[in-house]
């Protein structure tokens, strides 16, 4: 079936974009292949790993399960947008300080799930943290350092955000 195109306008990492995209292209492909923002990863492509997590209107979502066309009118944040004026976000700093990155494939998605959690709740308890990152799989770290980083980011006030 031949794909028609669809026009979308949205804000991504504080920048306005107007694009014409194939109608069934995923939001993930729009972000990676059209906009060149390759920080967002494709792991499973079917909603199970969370590597493709981005924030849409303040909520963490799997960009592999969303149509690019559904981005129309939305406010999108990807891992590239966490840094502001050369300053890492405090969540990113905490991940570095606590050695929460090994191969790094899961990291952008977990950073975005954490960011969305903090948008809702600046001081989540352990269970809320576990729930917020349950949709993100990490094959390397065993989650201990990731969890420690998130706890750390709750209490630090340094960095932007």
């Amino acid at each position: 079936m031949e794909d028609k195109t669809v026009c979308i306008e949205f804000t991504i990492n504080r920048e306005k974009k107007a694009l014409q995209i194939p109608s069934r292209m995923s939001a993930l492909t729009v972000i990676r292949d059209i906009l060149g923002l390759t920080g967002t990863k494709e792991g499973c492509g079917v909603g199970e790993c969370g590597a493709c997590t981005i924030e849409v209107d303040g909520q963490a979502i799997n960009s592999c399960l969303m149509f690019g066309a559904q981005l129309d009118g939305c406010n999108v944040l990807t891992v590239e947008g966490l840094e502001k004026e050369g300053q890492l976000h405090r969540i990113q700093k905490a991940f570095l300080d606590n050695h929460a990155v090994q191969c790094g494939f899961c990291t952008p998605g977990i950073l975005m799930s954490t960011h969305a959690l903090f948008e809702e709740n600046a001081n989540p308890d352990d269970e809320e943290i576990t729930k917020a990152i349950a949709g993100n799989i990490c094959r390397c770290t065993g989650y201990q350092q990731i969890f420690a980083s998130i706890k750390d980011a709750c209490s630090t006030k340094t960095g932007n955000g």
Binding site: R24, G47, A134
Partner: protein
């Protein structure tokens, strides 16, 4: 493929009246995306995005009925005080439904319309005797939620129609719960799910009971035999065990005995015991 985003229900229904056969409705898209990737939508010419249809949004309690828009997401269900008050089993189901990212997009209407045997919202809807308000160009009708799935992944909805909302009888029982068994704790697709609502009279006899089973039967359904067996009886441990046995037999009767029955029958009985244990005297 065309991607269309109508502004209102009327335009959407007019479009479906002409192009329903070739069109796939997109709500959150979490099932549609996967079906598309799997090549199941090759014959479709249009994707119809229903996000702007105001009629599909919102949660309301009016005239002793609970209304839940088909476009309400699992996250919205999870956070709704109204649903917590009038349909707590549905809120319970939303806490174990996929991961946060999917709950933020997945809608209750999409979950029911997809007719997956493991649609977790269906057993909680069924114990509330929920009906769906279905609209097409010519009008509206009410269909019980149980009648929407005609088989695994097969919906009885005609291609020109949209589920607008669900209408539930509010919870009047003191005890209600939803539990599921999956392969792992988080993000597990249900192997078995169960929603129960129960109440007792002053003498401690069961005066009200609704039992609905999902995932392990081809379509989620209410278990009338078990309800009838328990009505008017004092719930002892032995009685609940016997009722669980009836439930397991009913399940085996619906699905036909297979290799997995060896574990499924005791599992369904065990899950039933676990849920109803707080009601035992």
């Amino acid at each position: 493929m065309n991607y269309i985003t109508p502004d209102n229900l009327k335009d959407a229904l007019n479009f479906l009246a002409c192009h329903g056969e070739d069109t796939e409705i997109v709500a959150g898209g979490t099932d549609v995306m996967i079906d598309l990737r799997a090549g199941k939508l090759e014959q479709k010419k249009n994707l119809l995005d229903i996000r702007n249809l105001a009629e599909l949004k919102g949660i309301d309690f009016k005239d002793e009925k609970l209304f839940i828009g088909a476009g309400v997401t699992l996250t919205e269900i999870n956070r709704s005080d109204t649903i917590k008050k009038y349909a707590p089993a549905l809120v319970k189901c939303s806490t174990t439904f996929a991961g946060r990212q999917i709950r933020n997009r997945a809608t209750i209407g999409g979950n029911v319309a997809h007719s997956s045997p493991c649609g977790d919202t269906i057993p909680p809807l069924v114990i509330h005797e929920a009906v769906a308000l279905i609209a097409n160009k010519t009008g509206e009708k009410l269909i019980p939620v149980e009648a929407i799935a005609s088989g695994p992944y097969q919906s009885s909805l005609s291609k020109d129609s949209i589920i607008v909302k669900f209408i539930l009888k509010p919870c009047r029982a003191n005890f209600t719960d939803f539990q599921k068994i999956g392969r792992r704790k988080e993000l597990a697709v249900s192997r078995m799910s169960m929603a129960i609502m129960a109440d007792k009279d002053e003498q401690g006899r069961i005066s009200f009971i609704r039992v609905s089973l999902g995932a392990c039967t081809p379509i989620p359904q209410r278990m009338d035999e078990v309800e009838q067996f328990l009505m008017g009886k004092i719930p002892t441990q032995d009685l609940i065990w016997d009722a669980g046995k009836i439930l397991a037999e009913k399940m085996a009767g619906v699905t036909g005995r297979r290799a997995s029955s060896v574990y499924k029958e005791p599992a369904v009985q065990g899950l039933f015991m676990r849920i109803l244990y707080p009601v035992v005297l």
